[in-house]
């Protein structure tokens, strides 16, 4: 059944909430007195539309209806969820709740996006305090799953459960914070790091860029998948969490940060942490956690590599500095093209390289041939390229992560708009797979077939001429199921 959310206060955060509900099929009613609200929320929605649905591998509900309203009373009509994202001023928020509660369904949930206020503060002057909870999101709200859900004794357990259910339905992960505190959990860490970062900049130790690099090339990659304690549990090794804390405990008295208000590390506190860590991660051995961590890190690093960003850009720079020389197209036959080690994240439930990764590697081999005949990044940026029209893959033998493989490539034909390649993938002399590919040269403006520019046509002639008298590779020209 279609449901309705009211968004009180647009901006980056309110707009993110609107996008999350709308793209999950809810109707969304917005109140924001800012005359620019519609434009601003439209910009957030543009970003959400291009990114959010592609997170899922199943059909997502059709987009709901979006409407803008001049009054809060109008905006909350029919809403089962009301999300308040007005500026961080307690008196303003309390006034908003008074107006909302005069008009909204008494069973609706009023969530506040507040970064800092405790729910008891928000509920203070409300006519129905039990209706109000903290639901603190993280920007971009349409992609990041975390919601800190904080209530008080005034909230019925049923309401908390219903809030969790509705938040989960639109793809969030509601983290129920059991005991209220200023700034909840995550923003307390952000604030601590922010304070330390201000010291480092003020004292001329580091720049903003150096600080960001110190985060994103190191512990930021760990935190994206395991957080703080599970990371330390793994680092501590088989000796366990208590040993780890004992080792790093003394640093609490050292000036390792300017923030010196530290708790006493009593035996009781150490045992509490160790017990909680066992409950959290004890299902896995340290060795298993190490491998899960490494699988995740390789996945994230290779993902960033494909985007040429952050730590991935470092890997690309290393590759560039160590790329083999371009072969002499008139002499080398067949060409040795892609040459690499099968990454951890390329394997699947059958324990071997997933079929799509064969095509990824053949595609990389094709890209190298394209670059060698002059269809490189500049040529493509100028509006010319090759598109693959057709592909035939035969799987001859299995291969697992960690194996060094290479492709030998024969140009079966290359003239005019057509480029017909045959890749053979080997582990040493063990043939793993073959890939036959028909590519068509295109104009990227018209997206249609077009003759290659002379510099490419010339080199393609050299390549196809050099390969013309090579024996036709076994398996070329085959159809599926035909011998």
């Amino acid at each position: 059944m279609k449901q309705t959310a009211a968004i009180i206060g647009g901006g980056v955060i309110g707009g993110g909430w609107a996008a999350r509900f709308l793209l999950m099929g809810w109707d969304v009613r917005i109140f924001d007195p800012d005359p620019e609200a519609e434009r601003k929320i439209g910009e957030v929605l543009d970003n959400a539309r291009r990114s959010m649905r592609g997170l899922f591998d199943v059909p997502v509900p059709a987009e709901g209806n979006l409407s803008f309203h001049d009054t809060m009373s109008d905006a909350v009509a029919g809403a089962v969820w009301i999300q308040e994202s007005v500026p961080e001023r307690l008196e303003l928020k309390r006034k908003v709740y008074q107006t909302l509660q005069e008009h909204c369904d008494p069973d609706a949930i009023i969530g506040s996006s507040t970064s800092g206020f405790k729910p008891s503060e928000l509920q203070g002057c409300a006519s129905r305090p039990g209706q109000i909870v903290v639901t603190h999101p993280f920007n971009p709200v349409y992609l990041l799953p975390l919601i800190e859900l904080v209530g008080t004794d005034a909230n019925a357990p049923e309401l908390i459960e219903r809030a969790k259910l509705l938040l989960g339905e639109v793809g969030f992960y509601p983290l129920h914070v059991k005991k209220e505190i200023d700034a909840h959990i995550a923003d307390r860490f952000l604030e601590a790091v922010w304070r330390e970062a201000l010291w480092l900049i003020r004292d001329g130790i580091a720049t903003t860029e150096e600080i960001d690099d110190a985060i994103r090339f190191g512990f930021g990659l760990r935190w994206a998948q395991m957080g703080l304690f599970e990371t330390y549990r793994v680092a501590g090794g088989e000796a366990g969490m208590e040993h780890f804390i004992a080792q790093f405990g003394p640093a609490l008295a050292w000036p390792w940060t300017k923030l010196m208000d530290v708790p006493e590390l009593t035996d009781e506190l150490v045992a509490k942490i160790a017990d909680q860590s066992d409950a959290q991660s004890g299902a896995y051995s340290i060795r298993e956690l190490e491998r899960i961590r490494d699988d995740n890190l390789v996945t994230i690093l290779r993902g960033l590599k494909a985007r040429d960003w952050g730590a991935g850009r470092i890997l690309n720079a290393w590759d560039e500095a160590h790329r083999p020389d371009i072969p002499d197209l008139a002499v080398a036959r067949p060409l040795t093209t892609a040459h690499m080690t099968i990454p951890l994240d390329w394997t699947d439930y059958n324990g071997h390289m997933n079929e799509a990764r064969y095509l990824q590697m053949f595609g990389d081999a094709t890209d190298l041939v394209m670059a060698w005949i002059g269809c490189d990044a500049d040529y493509i940026a100028a509006g010319n390229s090759y598109f693959t029209a057709e592909t035939h893959i035969r799987h001859i033998d299995e291969v697992r992560a960690g194996t060094e493989v290479h492709c030998r490539t024969t140009c079966l034909a290359g003239a005019g708009k057509k480029l017909h390649l045959f890749h053979e993938m080997y582990d040493g002399e063990r043939l793993l797979a073959t890939g036959e590919h028909m590519l068509i040269h295109v104009n990227l403006e018209t997206r249609r077939a077009a003759e290659p520019l002379p510099e490419v046509a010339t080199r393609l002639d050299v390549l196809s001429g050099a390969h013309a008298d090579l024996p036709r590779p076994e398996g070329a020209g085959r159809a599926v199921g035909v011998r």
Copy 2:
């Protein structure tokens, strides 16, 4: 030319250094008095061997020679890099340097893995202080690129440059910290967060697991790719960094963390941050940075989804709860199989979906058919599965990220060990591509063809029978380049 590194002190960190050098082709000589050192370092090496080389897409040098030595004097023979990773006791480290400097090449670089000590402290009693620098790595050392490189005026600029070069050669990113400070940069943040986390656990606000979830489902994902300041620059929007700081500045006086020793937010400090942020990120507009951030987040989230871990597990749970019902195999023809929105990270330099992602989606469609005939996760865990033997893909029309697509699947034949499927990928009624696949049922123990178990054979009969009189899809049975 092959180079040699000496590793003084094994363990998780020393072992990580050993792995990094060794797998990049260096000879590695280890000194560690721990009788268990060889076993412990062997375990780190096992982890490194399965994960590290697959980060690169070019050939990596052949592994160097590893040797263990009983004395430091023996270990440093021929070493151009000496990495010290002994326990964090200043007197111990100073004694180690005295011994090292009696025997090592005076031109070798001695790097210390110290988390906390300043290089001036390490150099204190050394006979050649200029030879010693801090090179602080992050666990796992064989995957994470960050090295904090810290020197003093005693270090010649030439030595710092040489250190950068050698670290870069083995794949690290050396972050040169220009002014020494306790715990360098990253560990100061880790220490601040650790102190705040101890408070939260001591006061019963959150458990270790809740803290980790608050990190890895929210800001941890942001930090993995942009860090702190670039993230805030984007969040601040077009109003700019100064506006952002003005908005959040007052929180410095609030109890948003227990760590209250904060610097004064002067106009000068605000301007310094804004200027540094411009220098760091000013090449991109806020809108561009938003999209880069979202591209990265989608990539990381979908990567974790493939690993079924962290934030990716939340996405998988949503998919499972929203998966369409299993169709009646006797009635539905063709089957509607894969159905999803093309993710942002599936496109390539030609601006459309990359060819390997077609096969990924066809592979997902095949997985659904397998599951529907009973070859599901349990069946596979019990040692039976299908392997793809052969694939033929035709690209009919282009498709871009954000488009909702689905596959219609015909079973061309299914009997005995063979399963012959034909997928057609559509955007609405627009045909994008076809995929023809021959799969062979296998025993996962022998890795050889085997008859399916009766429950699968029976359902396969139903499916192939229902599709037997469907018209043969256009394009089935084709070979590359043949009409």
